[in-house]
């Protein structure tokens, strides 16, 4: 009997062991078999996990004084869970309408959208609810739930609560100053982040502003705790622009565009000694919090930031470059005389002055003062084409400046041997026609003249604040196209030229050098069109120690087409207003600081 029981136990043990071995074998098979593993992963992917893109907080953008220009703000998406909201839309609407300021009927309609499993599950009411609004909803929810659990009513009216209302936090890009420096900053489309940052600093530094983005698998099982990994915030950027100066310049450029009925306006103010951009104003601009307006505001002929994105024929302001080349190459001197007969003939084609007049014998200062195309054409002929274009390369006019703004454009300069270059190109190029440059290229090139022949790379970023270190952007010398002596001579000549001309660009308290320009515009299919111009001015000062360089451009002004009547006074208005904010003393104040002219004993109540 006992042995019979033993044998049965043994058989049972053997069976169980075989079963255990089979189970383990099956487990091992499922763990290792390729198709089984694939099946498991497929099921897992579909039902157990979801992969989401997780990004770190985007870095801020500041002006040089530390004022926030672009930051991040928090908002909440308020949604309704349809399964819970379908039966009591009116009740929910009564609570939510006054809190969210949304039309009551709209909420009822949303709440009573029929629930369809896997299709219509949730309806968003708003993407931009504030923390205060969410707190009010939470309070209402809490009080309703407490009431439900304690009152008899809850047993009969179980649906009358706000449990259907859910909310999710969003971080979105916000620009506190709206349209201030919008052409520089660019924008990050918070409604459609997948399309990426556009224009300006936002696009140029998108990689470092956005920090790190990872793909993370989140379990769909609510019992599995998941956490968002700790991602370091993107780097923040401080610009070289001064918010106050930028604002003042923007106001002036807007006023000028509206008064002159111009297509657009651009002003750049820079420090020629270190290449820092102090202001870069354009008009039209958009409020960056309404970034979608860019699609309707800007066109191919009127770009987001013309200062860097729009090459154009600058006209006579280019004579500054030709003059510098002429003097540096030794073919002319300030006292060289050119006899202007009113035309300059190249290969049978006559080049005329802006007024079609003949100005007789003129020194080089006279040539610049009267902006004589004939004279500059003659100078270019003396320089010769190879030398002239070699200098243009030295001035980096054949390449983008590399400023830290997205989509910087440039126009290649045609040279002898290139298709499209003819003998007439050299003289026309000498006075800024037949070649195109951007305002920022002109700022870089002319800064060499204002800075003792040393050309600085223009830059608009002062520092980048990473999480673990700060990178301070250092001034960069990009070339020495002309000698210091040439730079001084050209500055002195253009100072004299402006003074003799009694230009509207002259400033009350500071001596400046500069040149106006009226560039003709070639329209596709028509050639150069009468009375449609680009009015420009480039100026720098104080001439004995230049602290600023400014470039002004009005595109197609209608009231007056001349740079001397439009851009020169605009330069003066702008500089008169911003000089104190740039901490550049007037000549009277600098004279006071000089012991030779400052009175040793200041009379009572007189302070300098």
């Amino acid at each position: 009997m006992n042995s019979n029981i033993d044998s049965k136990f043994k058989k049972l043990a053997i069976c169980l062991s075989i079963f255990a071995v089979l189970v383990i074998g099956r487990i091992l098979f499922l763990q290792t078999n390729a198709s089984a593993v694939e099946l498991k992963e497929t099921i897992g992917k579909a039902y157990e996990y979801t992969t989401l893109s997780v990004s770190s907080e985007r870095g801020n953008i500041y002006d040089r004084e530390g004022y926030l220009l672009a930051g991040n703000s928090i908002s909440y998406t308020i949604s309704l869970k349809l399964q819970a909201s379908n039966t009591h839309g009116e009740f929910i609407a009564n609570y939510l309408a006054p809190i969210l300021g949304i039309d009551r009927e709209k909420i009822i309609q949303a709440a009573e959208t029929p629930y369809v499993e896997n299709e219509a599950v949730e309806v968003p009411l708003t993407n931009f609810a504030t923390k205060e609004q969410v707190d009010k909803i939470e309070l209402a929810k809490k009080s309703l739930n407490e009431r439900n659990t304690t009152s008899f009513e809850s047993k009969t009216r179980v649906f009358e609560n706000l449990n259907a209302v859910v909310y999710y936090p969003n971080i979105y890009r916000y620009y506190p100053d709206g349209d201030l420096a919008s052409n520089i900053i660019g924008f990050y489309p918070y409604l459609n982040p997948a399309s990426g940052a556009s224009f300006g600093i936002e696009q140029y530094y998108d990689d470092i502003l956005s920090g790190e983005t990872i793909q993370k698998k989140f379990s769909l099982d609510p019992n599995v705790p998941e956490s968002i990994p700790d991602l370091p915030k993107g780097a923040s950027i401080a610009l070289t622009i001064d918010r106050k100066v930028q604002k003042l310049v923007e106001e002036q450029v807007k006023l000028a565009v509206e008064q002159q009925k111009a297509k657009s306006g651009t002003i750049i103010i820079a420090n020629p000694k270190n290449g820092e951009i102090l202001a870069m104003a354009t008009y039209p601009r958009i409020n960056l919090n309404h970034y979608w307006e860019s699609a309707t505001t800007f066109t191919r002929e009127n770009k987001f930031n013309p200062a860097v994105m729009q090459p154009y024929e600058v006209g006579s302001v280019f004579k500054v470059i030709t003059l510098a080349i002429g003097i540096d190459s030794g073919v002319i001197k300030p006292e060289t005389v050119f006899n202007d007969t009113g035309t300059f003939n190249v290969m049978g084609i006559d080049i005329y002055n802006w007024d079609r007049g003949a100005w007789g014998p003129q020194t080089m200062i006279g040539c610049m003062q009267h902006s004589l195309n004939t004279c500059l054409s003659w100078i270019a002929e003396q320089i010769t084409a190879p030398v002239f274009y070699d200098y243009l390369r030295k001035f980096h006019l054949d390449k983008p400046t590399g400023i830290e703004l997205a989509l910087e454009d440039y126009y290649p300069i045609l040279q002898p041997g290139d298709e499209g270059w003819t003998e007439i190109s050299l003289p026309t190029n000498s006075f800024g026609q037949g070649l195109m440059t951007t305002p920022i290229q002109m700022i870089q090139a002319v800064s060499a003249i204002a800075n003792d022949g040393i050309m600085m790379k223009p830059h608009i970023v002062k520092a980048i604040y990473y999480n673990d270190h700060t990178e301070v952007i250092q001034p960069e010398v990009v070339g020495r196209p002309i000698s210091a002596e040439t730079a001084h001579t050209v500055t002195d000549m253009l100072e004299t030229s402006l003074e003799v001309e009694a230009s509207d660009a002259l400033l009350d308290g500071v001596k400046i050098a500069g040149k106006t320009g009226t560039g003709e515009i070639a329209k596709e299919g028509y050639g150069y069109v009468l009375n449609v111009t680009n009015a420009s001015f480039v100026g720098w000062g104080p001439t004995d120690d230049p602290q600023f360089i400014a470039y002004v451009w009005l595109q197609e002004p209608l009231i007056s087409i001349w740079g001397s009547e439009v851009s020169a006074p605009l330069f003066s208005d702008v500089m008169n207003e911003i000089m104190p904010y740039l901490h550049i003393p007037y000549d009277r104040q600098r004279a006071c600081l000089n012991s030779k002219t400052c009175p040793t004993e200041v009379p009572k109540n007189e302070y300098y």
Binding site: N2, E57, S73, I171, D177, P225, K233, I454, H488, P580
Partner: protein, 154 residues
């Protein structure tokens, strides 16, 4: 060869008891391991939940900080600051007015000389500052000086 026979052998119930005890031991051991495993996994889950809660709080704080920084940016935005300044009664300076817009020389200060500039005017040592008395005397002296004296009343 003689086969050795034991005088006694275990009673069947003892053998069964032994088997049961063995099985129970295995079960108890399994239960112990399972309870330890459960205990640790429960603790781990609790820890993970705590971590998750803290992560959520941190994320919420990060968002709130970002939001507050931006709110501060809004409060110090150009338009708002200008409005506040106007409301506070500030007016724009007339920069052409030499009495209003003036530089105050600091005795002994020599500005940095830019090595890139060869043309910079070399400034000699600055003259003694002609500062207003208000900037150099104490408040007590200032009030005393400003108070009407008997002589001035005459």
């Amino acid at each position: 060869m003689k086969t050795e026979q034991h005088a006694y052998r275990l009673a069947p119930w003892r053998k069964q008891l032994k088997s049961i005890i063995n099985i129970l031991l295995v079960l108890v051991l399994g239960a112990c391991i399972a309870s330890v495993y459960l205990n640790y996994s429960a603790q781990m889950t609790d820890m993970k939940l705590q971590i998750q809660i803290l992560h959520d709080q941190r994320n919420e704080l990060t968002r709130t900080i970002a939001d507050y920084v931006t709110r501060e940016g809004i409060l110090t935005s150009y338009a708002l600051m200008e409005k506040k300044a106007t409301q506070a009664g500030y007016i724009k300076i007339d920069f052409d007015d030499e009495d209003i817009y003036t530089y105050l020389p600091i005795p002994g200060y020599i500005p940095d000389i830019d090595i890139l500039s060869e043309r910079r005017v070399q400034l000699p040592p600055l003259p003694v500052s002609p500062l207003k008395p208000e900037y150099t005397e104490s408040l007590q002296l200032y009030i005393f000086r400003k108070l009407p004296t008997k002589e001035s009343e005459k």
